[in-house]
Assembly symmetry: C2
Homo-oligomer: 224 residues x 2
């Protein structure tokens, strides 16, 4: 923390990479992008970009999010900084990683016949080879998400404003990849005091309509 501009300390490049999660079709998914150029041309990677000189790390992450998904208001959290000297074969690159949560409903779906290099992949069916150390980054992010789901209300980032308790339960189940008891789950969720009722609605037709709930506050809270 002494001198900058010191010749001995030539500087690495800094990128921001994002692990963007959503839940759709009862499966936890991440957004991957197919690389066009070498190195790792054709391989899937997590979205990222270079840090601009005047922007904060968080702002860079928000910028990348918006570029790739069109969504700006999401749960976003710094994950870890990866900096093995050889993680990029070209030159030294330090990447500050983030993870983000987006409700599936908030995503503008891509035009049907549009060719795109972006795709959502189930976390339990990832491509065998990912670019750079992105597999390691993804594993780290999945572990963080699972841990936080168990002791916080972080899943609000994956849910629309109003939702059924069964939707909430399915989100939890897809994250931790385990089935939960319906009665105990509802009891526990309502006991947190973080939810409130709204009006009813019938969805998916032929059955008793479900009460829709919302989070009183859409912000991170640690439970207990």
């Amino acid at each position: 923390m002494e001198n900058t501009n010191h010749p001995e300390y030539e500087q690495p490049a800094i990128t921001i990479d994002l692990v963007i999660f959503t839940v759709n079709d009862d499966e936890l998914k991440v957004l991957l992008i197919k690389r066009a150029q070498e190195p790792f041309a054709g391989a899937w990677s997590i979205p990222g970009g270079f840090l601009k000189l005047a922007e904060s790390l968080d702002d860079a992450a928000i910028r990348v999010m918006k570029d790739k998904t069109g969504v700006k208001e999401v749960y976003l959290e710094q994950l870890y900084t990866f900096g093995m000297p050889n993680r990029d074969p070209r030159t030294r690159v330090i990447t500050v990683t983030y993870f983000a949560l987006i409700p599936w409903q908030n995503l503008r779906q891509p035009e049907s016949n549009q060719v795109t290099d972006l795709a959502w992949h189930r976390v339990d069916q990832l491509p065998a080879q990912l670019a750079f150390d992105h597999r390691e980054i993804l594993d780290y992010a999945i572990n963080r998400l699972r841990a936080k789901a168990s002791y916080s209300n972080i899943v609000y980032g994956l849910l629309p404003l109003r939702f059924r308790l069964s939707d909430l339960q399915k989100i939890y189940e897809s994250i931790i990849d385990k089935e939960l008891d319906k009665r105990n789950f509802r009891k526990r969720m309502l006991a947190t005091g973080l939810l409130e009722e709204t009006g009813k609605k019938e969805l998916k037709g032929a059955h008793r309509p479900a009460m829709l709930y919302r989070f009183k506050k859409r912000e991170f809270v640690v439970l207990d």
Copy 2:
């Protein structure tokens, strides 16, 4: 993550800064260093240094640790990366921070009359002004340590190889800044199965000698 060497993306400097904890005299303390040069000349700061081009982030942290404390084998964990554009008034500096735990007994104590710019400060009696955003970094580190102490065996990093259960309890108490019930504490600790007995020893004279324990494994474990 596309082109490097792109003119638009001039690179910030990268430093590694460390929050180094120990417990001494039943108080949680951090190592601070008094800055000799501007900016913030005379202010206390956490130890750090520039990342070298060929070394990993972890290696840089270990290097700084060894330089400042002489100790190499410690608990070390990446904390967070701070990168507000104006956090260093001179130029853009991104700092990857770590926190470290050292048993007080492992430190080679400085020669008594040696003038030094290094000093251990109680975390509840920090200087009002710290250099850069180091206050924010310290607060972040303290919170992380408190959280991890409550759900892991991380305190092994603050203890010598052999210790009394009352030492262990005092470490916990100084971290979370709360008193604990002796019987419940012992029950819980022994129930983890992470400790084992060694031989007896009498310390601090006039009372019944205490059994010394050790951690079966000196590695991070999440409890329950």
